[in-house]
């Protein structure tokens, strides 16, 4: 199943996502928890954020894969779950970083990045038992953006809409409280 979690900054969406993965693993008796980390540690602040997330994940049984391009490194991901992708839950954290990496580090345009992301998730969905994707609500600051920032916001909006439409579960985490837009029954444990 595909779970899409969104939320604003500091909303507790990552913690909720990790808890969700642990509950799914417990309920379905799933052995492998892959954490696809998309954030690049290119600044002190990024390193601090990464360290904080690592602390939160500690003891929850995740195998962390540095994966700035998401599902692109298919062989690396396969190596992590061996012969048993159906016994694997993947947590991708987070879509806003992944898209930024493709558009700003890799120089892809919004449409190409969007296409790669959606194809990657579609393929992964057929392979792994559950996929949990964390994305970000960046759309309500009332500012007008131009150029590459506008293209980025528009592409993230498109990705979020396409994933929400395809997902089994779509949930906004509002300051630690899950607010379901779709598929709440799949998250009752």
């Amino acid at each position: 199943m595909l779970y899409l979690l969104t939320g604003g900054c500091g909303s507790g969406k990552s913690e909720y996502a990790e808890t969700l993965v642990c509950r799914l693993a417990g309920r379905d008796g799933i052995g492998i928890r892959l954490y696809l980390a998309t954030m690049e540690s290119d600044s002190r602040e990024a390193m601090e954020r990464i360290a904080r997330h690592r602390r939160l994940r500690q003891g929850k049984g995740f195998v962390t894969v540095e994966s700035p391009c998401g599902f692109r490194e298919r062989r690396l991901l396969s190596a992590c779950c061996g012969e048993h992708p159906e016994d694997t839950i993947v947590l991708l954290e987070c879509m806003s970083n992944l898209l930024a990496n493709l558009m700003f580090s890799d120089g892809m345009d919004g449409e190409a990045a969007e296409e790669e992301i959606l194809a990657g998730i579609k393929e992964a969905r057929s392979r792994y038992r559950h996929i949990v994707v964390v994305t970000n609500e960046i759309f309500s600051d009332g500012s007008r953006y131009t150029g590459e920032m506008e293209a980025y916001c528009s592409a993230l909006g498109e990705v979020n809409r396409a994933l929400a439409a395809a997902a089994d579960v779509f949930c906004e985490v509002v300051y630690s409280i899950p607010v379901f837009l779709k598929g709440e029954e799949a998250c009752r444990f």
Partner: protein, 135 residues
């Protein structure tokens, strides 16, 4: 404790005051506690306080380099006034700001609201004046 959140100019404080008025508690004076301006609503024998604009308090403290006081200050307030109403803007719904202090501010408001949402009796989100109880 009751937590009311939402975008700016959505009627969050009006909702809190209406809810209290419905219970016969009317907004009256204001006072400063822990450096926060708090509205005091009165009923015979009972006083309920509303901390409006939590996010502005956070911003003021952070700009003064006193962010370490935020969490203990909130905890003290909650101990003193377990039936406090807290009203706060949702500020983390935009593009990540360029300035580091702005990023830290949004993050701090979010973390404090996560803490409060876990403790709150109810969490109500106001959109266009309409309340949606999410907890």
């Amino acid at each position: 404790m009751e937590l009311v959140i939402g975008g700016c100019f959505q009627g969050k404080l009006a909702y809190a005051e209406q809810e209290l008025a419905r219970r016969g508690i009317l907004a009256g004076t204001e006072e400063i506690i822990e450096g926060v301006q708090i509205r005091v609503a009165l009923e015979e024998g009972r006083t309920v306080r509303i901390l409006n604009h939590l996010h502005l308090w956070v911003r003021d403290r952070m700009e003064a380099g006193r962010e370490a006081e935020l969490m203990p200050g909130l905890e003290t307030l909650l101990l003193k006034y377990p039936d406090l109403w807290i009203v706060c803007d949702e500020v983390g719904y935009g593009v990540v700001p360029v300035e580091k202090t702005e990023r830290a501010y949004r993050e701090m408001v979010g973390r404090l609201l996560c803490f409060l949402a876990q403790k709150a009796e109810h969490v109500v989100r106001i959109v266009g004046g309409m309340p949606m109880t999410i907890k």
